[in-house]
């Protein structure tokens, strides 16, 4: 077998595996989205933690200050980044000190990623809701 043929075959094999992974994970997302829709757009165990008015006070935000339950405030919104922590390329330790905070997280995030990355914040975490934070951070 020629070397280049083997290389092409392996590349196709990897493409096939990637396609399978993408198909598998997108199916999982559909299920997850349906669950979230049933839960009113909120995720899993966080549902009961959000008040019916959809407003989260800073003291409520501060309760989610652990790696296993990490909420952060940014731009008047609260984000659940718990599931993202283990996947953060800069390690979970880069975010975990800011769990349960708004001003501290905002300062650290802006310093690290700048204001252009604000849109990306929504992509990395699960948006709990478009809630206003009561009080000032």
């Amino acid at each position: 077998m020629k070397k280049i043929v083997l290389a092409v075959l392996i590349a196709f094999l990897v493409f096939g595996i990637v396609a399978f992974i993408r198909l598998y994970t997108s199916t999982g997302n559909v299920v997850l989205n349906n669950v979230n829709a049933v839960n009113g757009g909120n995720s899993g165990s966080s549902v009961n933690a959000v008040s019916s008015s959809g407003r989260i006070s800073l003291s409520d935000l501060a309760k989610h200050d652990k790696e296993s339950d990490c909420w952060v405030g940014y731009g008047g919104k609260v984000y659940d980044v718990t599931s993202f922590l283990p996947r953060h390329p800069g390690s979970a330790g880069a975010i975990s000190p800011y769990c349960g905070t708004s001003k501290e997280f905002t300062d650290a995030f802006t310093k690290k990623h700048g204001t252009k990355k604000v849109g990306a914040l929504m992509k990395v975490g699960v948006l709990i809701g478009d809630f206003n934070i009561v009080g000032t951070a």
Partner: protein
């Protein structure tokens, strides 16, 4: 197997595992990585997620080539250039320094070339026909 050969194998396999791991993470969940896509790559009409997906596939393919020892020098050179690009894009941060170190290690593999336990060697010696 002498220590030089062992060093070469450890370098090749460990780097391959790093690239395969990160490649797999990127294709599994591109949205988690799109934060790190430079803005100039997004203006070409390709979304950040697709850039991450393409990058993940590249790392998986070339990482697989490294681990089985196919086109070792070519794969190492492409991955080294790729990592230098990422390191310079990230800048002087802990992440950037880490990628800079990995880029030099990959460049070292390019200069080492393939060892006896690679398909390249077997093709060179006509062991595989």
């Amino acid at each position: 197997m002498n220590s030089r050969e062992l060093g070469n194998i450890i370098l090749r396999v460990s780097l391959a595992l790093v690239f395969i791991y990160f490649g797999f993470q990127q294709v599994r969940d591109p949205s988690s990585w799109s934060t790190f896509v430079p803005d100039f790559l997004k203006v070409s009409g390709i979304s950040g997620n697709n850039v991450v997906l393409l990058n993940g596939v590249l790392e998986l393919v070339l990482g697989t080539f490294l681990i089985i020892g196919l086109y070792v020098r070519f794969s190492a050179l492409i991955l080294a250039i790729h990592l230098f690009g990422i390191a310079f894009s990230i800048g002087f941060t802990p992440l950037g320094v880490r990628d800079f170190g990995l880029a030099f290690a990959t460049l070292a593999l390019y200069f080492y070339g393939y060892d006896k336990y690679t398909l390249d060697y077997r093709f060179e010696k006509k062991i595989v026909s």
